[in-house]
């Protein structure tokens, strides 16, 4: 990483912001709580698709992976640690130096870029894996966005997409619960009408030119205060896997 033109005061500021992203009890606590569960799903799917053994040191060596909406790098860093060549993109410019600063602290090489999936697709970038986690509920045109994700994949490539279901329970949990009661997320983080049901998402994914192959729920257990992957309960948070033919 070339840092010759970077102001040290700026770096200090970004390191402080990185600390905020990576504080398990800070502003991004809900993401940290969900992260092990998301990573279990992601690693299992990639290992299955590409025949990799997760009990080896760098199982994803040789795989080119794109994380859309990378934020502070909560998914990019584990993927890089597992050996993948990772490119993280975010449409929020300020996240990029923050993620870079943290990757440097972690001793990981990750290519972070301030850009969008659409721009990457237009530039002809190609990946083995596209991670599209908790993004689709925030975009204006989901079909155009998912089409860009499809274009970013090599044939046979894996697309993992998680989002929030649309029903009274998800409204209660994700908006009233997470934003207003627990104050986990800033108010206005989610707009309920933008939430997508699993069937709608499967249709969108098909229309975008991908073959849906799996869907699972992420379920919060208030007793153990942790998340679990569920085969049946997709009522609030859920994740899908699809393959480019």
């Amino acid at each position: 990483m070339s840092t010759t033109t970077v102001d040290p005061a700026e770096i200090a500021k970004f390191e402080a912001m990185a600390a905020e992203w990576w504080d398990p009890n800070g502003k991004f606590k809900p993401l940290h709580m969900l992260n092990p569960c998301r990573l279990d799903y992601i690693t299992t799917q990639i290992a299955g698709e590409y025949g990799r053994d997760l009990n080896t040191a760098r199982p994803f060596e040789g795989l080119r992976l794109l994380d859309i909406g990378c934020g502070g790098g909560l998914l990019c860093e584990p993927m890089a640690r597992l050996g993948a060549t990772v490119i993280g993109v975010d449409a929020a410019e300020r996240n990029i130096p923050v993620a870079k600063a943290h990757a440097a602290q972690s001793g990981l090489e990750i290519d972070y870029r301030f850009t969008t999936a659409e721009a990457m697709a237009a530039a002809g970038e190609q990946f083995d894996v596209v991670l599209n986690m908790e993004v689709v509920e925030h975009v204006a045109d989901p079909l155009a966005y998912l089409t860009a994700c499809q274009q970013l994949l090599k044939p046979g490539g894996l697309h993992l997409c998680s989002t929030i279901n649309r029903n009274p329970k998800s409204f209660a949990m994700a908006i009233v619960g997470a934003e207003y009661v627990m104050r986990w997320l800033p108010k206005g983080t989610h707009e309920w009408h933008k939430f997508i049901t699993p069937d709608e998402l499967f249709d969108l994914i098909r229309n975008a030119g991908l073959d849906p192959v799996d869907r699972k729920g992420f379920v919060f257990n208030p007793v153990t205060w942790g998340w679990k992957i569920s085969d049946r309960d997709l009522s609030v948070n859920y994740v899908t896997a699809s393959i480019k033919p």
Binding site: P24, P36, L39, D40, N55, E77, M79, A80, L82, S106
Partner: protein, 417 residues
């Protein structure tokens, strides 16, 4: 590097490991072996010199390994060589009695035949387990083992942890694990305080040989001065753990062997025929000590360093191995999903998993001991009714059996069948 052997420049060497484990008892080596399975390197630093650990002669000390602990030793590839030395415990009989009282009331009776998992536990002599662990460590490429070395300082920074030994050597690691017992220096150096209390009791431990076979039956006699456990060893031998008020225990322990046995015999009874001392005698003061936190920055505590408990139900080693299995599980799973296992949120998973179990067990054992180390007739009646009740209800009895076998609750990978 052809001339490397001729170089005379000696550089202070810092060796780097994934995990530095302080304490070379049983939990430390078990953890080193468990994380090596996930490809992690470790060093085990033992304050005791090697000959103390590798002694092969019979001294009568043994462990009541719960089924869960046996499964773990099997998963670590150790059980094959240990099985021939282990005595299966098929039954546990819990009896409430008085010293010299001929009426032996069999209050509670647990029989492994009632659960499909097999024997609820195994008796294994300390010497076999110790030596097997030493052997396995020396066979493992990823494990270094230092004997007779004391840690004098530990330093943790965001980049890593460093241990300084009494001889001036330093060791760098990503994580420090304190497996250094109830007065853990690792915990103290990290500023982790402990809470605890003394029972005013001391355990007398010895092995005996007896005339009649024990048939794999373990006994627990509850008597006013404290409990007496008779645990079957291979052959016609048993391990005895016997608690008395500390002053009395000291008097008894000061006696010559013959007089010592004269005190034990009326407590033991004659149901196994004539009994003789077979091995050394040991004493252990009974106290409960709980670390206020099981984890810290780049730090985790296991075994007695986290929770020293009353050995009334033989749960000390089993609880320690459960810590080791849980910590190895948390680390291994974090590693597999690409997480940095030294992050506070990862270590917090271990603490959350073990702290509740441990506090429950420590409190239950403590209450159990207070309840039974008592000659109050009302209390005696109450506990006799309670024991009768558990005995009469098969589901309660099977529940208690599985609990004793250590196969209830959320099991770490290493303890699953």
């Amino acid at each position: 590097m052809d001339n490397a052997g001729q170089s005379t420049i000696v550089q202070p060497m810092t060796k780097r490991y994934d995990i530095a484990i302080v304490g070379g008892g049983l939990n430390g080596p078990a953890l080193a072996l468990a994380v090596a399975r996930a490809g992690l390197s470790s060093i085990v630093i033992d304050a005791l010199p090697e000959p103390v650990r590798s002694g092969a002669e019979f001294d009568g000390r043994g462990y009541a390994l719960a089924l869960s602990s046996k499964r773990m030793l099997a998963a670590l590839g150790l059980w094959g060589d240990l099985a021939e030395h282990a005595q299966a415990m098929h039954e546990i009989k819990v009896t409430d009695g008085r010293v010299g009282d001929s009426r032996v009331f069999l209050g509670l009776h647990f029989d492994s035949a009632e659960i499909e998992e097999g024997p609820m536990g195994f008796m294994l002599e300390d010497r076999f387990l110790r030596r097997r662990l030493l052997q396995a460590m020396s066979d493992a490429d990823l494990i270094d083992h230092l004997s007779g070395q004391t840690v004098v300082a530990q330093d943790v920074t965001p980049e890593g942890a460093t241990l300084t030994l009494a001889n001036g050597d330093t060791i760098a690691a990503r994580l420090i694990v304190g497996a250094d017992g109830r007065s853990s220096g690792t915990a103290a150096r990290a500023g982790i305080r402990r809470t605890g209390w003394d029972y005013g009791q001391t355990a007398l431990v010895c092995a005996i040989s007896h005339e009649l076979p024990h048939n794999g039956v373990a006994h627990q006699f509850f008597m006013p001065p404290g409990p007496l456990a008779i645990l079957p060893l291979p052959g016609n031998q048993s391990s005895i753990v016997w608690s008395e008020r500390t002053a009395t225990a000291q008097q008894i322990n000061a006696l010559p062997d013959d007089a010592y046995m004269d005190v034990l015999r009326p407590r033991f009874g004659d149901f196994l025929g004539k009994i003789e001392l077979a091995g050394k005698r040991f004493t252990y003061p009974l106290n409960l000590t709980l670390a206020n936190s099981f984890v810290g920055d780049r730090l985790a505590l296991v075994g007695d360093a986290a929770h020293g408990m009353h050995p009334i139900a033989g749960q000390g080693l089993n609880a320690g191995l459960r810590d080791v299995a849980a910590l190895a599980h948390v680390i291994t799973h974090a590693q597999r999903r690409g997480e940095d296992f030294t992050l506070p949120q990862v270590l917090a998973r271990y603490e959350q998993w073990r702290r509740f179990d441990t506090a429950t067990l420590a409190t239950a054992t403590d209450l159990f001991n207070r309840l039974f180390s008592n000659d109050n007739p009302l209390l005696r009646l109450g506990r006799d009714i309670g024991m009768g009740l558990v005995n009469a209800v098969p589901s309660l009895r099977r529940g208690a059996l599985r609990e004793a076998a250590g196969i209830t609750g959320d099991l770490p990978d290493l303890m699953r069948a």
